[in-house]
Amino acid sequence: MMVDENSTGIWVIGEEKEGKLAPVTLELLTIGRQLADSLRQELVVVIIGHQLEHMSRLLVDYGPDKILLVAGEETRYFIPETYSEVLSALVEQRKPFAILFPATYDGRDVAARLAAKLGVGLAADCTDLKIDEAGRFVQVRPAFGGNLMAVIHQPTARPQLATLRPRMVKPNKSGRKVSPSVEYIKPRISAKPFTKSLLRTVREVAEESGNLDEAEVVIGVGRGIGSSENMRIVNHLATLLKAAIGGSRGVVDAGWLPHTQQIGLTGRVISPKMYMALGISGAVQHLVGVRTAKEIIAINKDPEAPIFKVATFGIVADMFSVIPLLAKELEPPAPQTT
């Protein structure tokens, strides 16, 4: 295989849903800006969707040199086969050095199809991306349930693809004074389209359960909750903490939370600033999902529960005594009645 030494540019593939920009896009731009600066290359952000006129306003502060908006009827809904087709045409034409995607359900899907289509490498679910002294693009990613970190290079093919987990960097305004160029592109689907269609999108997670990938605080509910009725008191606490609610496999299997909210080996891996485990024992299969949380708070009535071994703060107590007390502490003082 031949490496095209002329390939240049760091591309970030943004994520837009129902007119909203996913926060991970700004995180990708932040890290992308660092890579582009180290290499003295340009930073390009690509958004694929339908009506994207308002997008550039949301992106400019985060330092892209160029904004590519691919908007059309063909790309109205997320179909990875179509999105990767659109991207592959752009890549063949413009030859970027590296392309960063969010490690979300959609991001992983497009990245994988694009990598296979182009015959290039892809480092998945990275926790760090950097340029080494030799100017090589370095990807760092966990494996074996976070027990091992692998440092990856892609010496033989361009572009080099990577997906980055949400919440690995703080979105950072670049402070650059130059305003980026904005280019509108009509999606071109050349190959025979796949017979695949999106029939419907269904929201299962209550608004107050939040997005596990994005929330600063995640409350993890374990079987200690005892019943689905008891979820109410957790919902109240979550509102006070602006927290997303996830849970253990036990709670999901009992049907008290939807499957999307399961945290762990067979669920999701999250990186909140704070993870608050309520009535969770702390099985290894659960803990691999919260290893990169900055703080782990444990509330469990069993002092021997393994969750306390990884906790940065814990209370050995009945959660049904702790939650109301904590909620009371956090509630705004009731207005004075005269």
């Binding site: 086969e81 359900y105 992983r108 990245a111 994988a112 199809r113 990598a115 296979a116 289509k117 015959g119 490498g121 892809l122 480092a123 998945a124 679910d125 966990p142 494996a143 349930g145 976070g146 970190m149 440092v151 990856i152 892609q154 017979t195 695949k196 999106l198 029939l199 419907r200 999108t201 269904v202 299962e204 997670v205 939807p258 499957h259 999307t260 080996l265 067979t266 600033k273 704070m274 290894v284 299969q285 949380a293 900055k294 782990i296 708070i297 444990a298 071994k309 990884v310 906790a311 703060f313 814990g314 209370i315 050995v316 009945d318 005594s321 702790v322 007390l325 904590l326 502490e329 956090l330």
Partner: protein, 263 residues
């Protein structure tokens, strides 16, 4: 209906330990298991066969020991098991793995391919969609419910998203990746396990699938692991308070929330 299920043998991640002194992964004594997500894939294939008929082939790329994972698939009830094993395949990254599996699947014949949503060791979620792209078919990933329609040769599936799911229809041939929400895998009886051991796991080598040395294994891989290390996580060793003075414990927690600027 020809169903192919791609499976992998993986170390039981829950049993992996880190050597406190050398900070390396202790693999000795760690049991090898069938990747948990592949169990959901096999189970779903069995249910589809029960409803609509057809044959199921489980295919795996790996060393000879990976036969064990295929025996489990046979014990669960698949019709045929194929192990892709060759020195040429060693050191494959996701691209080379997808390429090898796609070449083999091409030889085996297919209408529907089911993979686990990820392997718990490599954790990339890439191989499934890459196989679909290489074979020129659509895929539906993170599937939590599947309906097969024989007349129209189509699949309707619920694809998990961050907040719920999407209902997607695709025509076969098509590839699905299975989540835990899909089903509860059957546990093969001892009798079935013993019967499976007597069955044949077919071996396929690079020549059998027409793979050239440079397109598979380490030479075919686009990513190179240059270093591995065990990470240090900043958790544990924290203050643990008891319920003796609960108001005080809760007040301490509130202070912590304040310090972290959460409230």
């Amino acid at each position: 209906m020809r169903i192919v299920v791609c499976v992998k043998q993986v170390p039981d991640v829950a049993e992996i330990r880190i050597d406190e002194v050398t900070h390396t992964l202790v693999r000795a004594g760690v049991p090898s298991i069938l990747n948990p997500f592949d169990e959901f894939a096999v189970e779903e294939a069995l249910r589809i066969r029960e409803k609509h008929g057809g044959t199921i082939t489980a295919v795996s790329m790996g060393p000879l020991q990976a036969k064990e994972a295929l025996f489990k698939c046979l014990a669960m009830g698949v019709d045929r098991a194929v192990l892709l094993t060759d020195v040429f395949f060693a050191g494959a990254d996701t691209w080379a793995t997808a390429k090898t599996l796609a070449m083999a699947i091409q030889k085996l014949g297919y209408d529907l391919i089911i993979c686990g949503m990820k392997a718990v060791d490599g954790e990339t979620s890439q191989v499934g969609p890459e196989i679909a792209e290489l074979l020129g078919m659509p895929h539906i990933s993170y599937v939590k419910r599947v309906e097969v329609e024989m007349e129209s040769k189509s699949i309707t599936a619920e694809r998990m998203t961050e907040q719920g799911y999407q209902l997607i229809r695709a025509t076969m041939p098509c590839l699905l990746t299975a989540t835990k929400a899909l089903n509860v895998p059957r546990i093969p009886t001892l009798l079935h396990q013993m019967a499976a051991k007597k069955k044949n796991v077919e071996i396929m080598k690079a020549v059998d699938i027409g793979a050239q040395r440079e397109e598979v294994g380490l030479p075919g891989s686009r990513t190179q692991v240059t270093k591995v290390y065990t990470p240090q996580y900043r958790t544990g060793g924290g203050t643990i308070l008891t319920s003796e003075n609960l108001p005080n414990a809760v007040a301490t927690l509130k202070e912590l929330l304040k310090k972290e600027r959460i409230v």
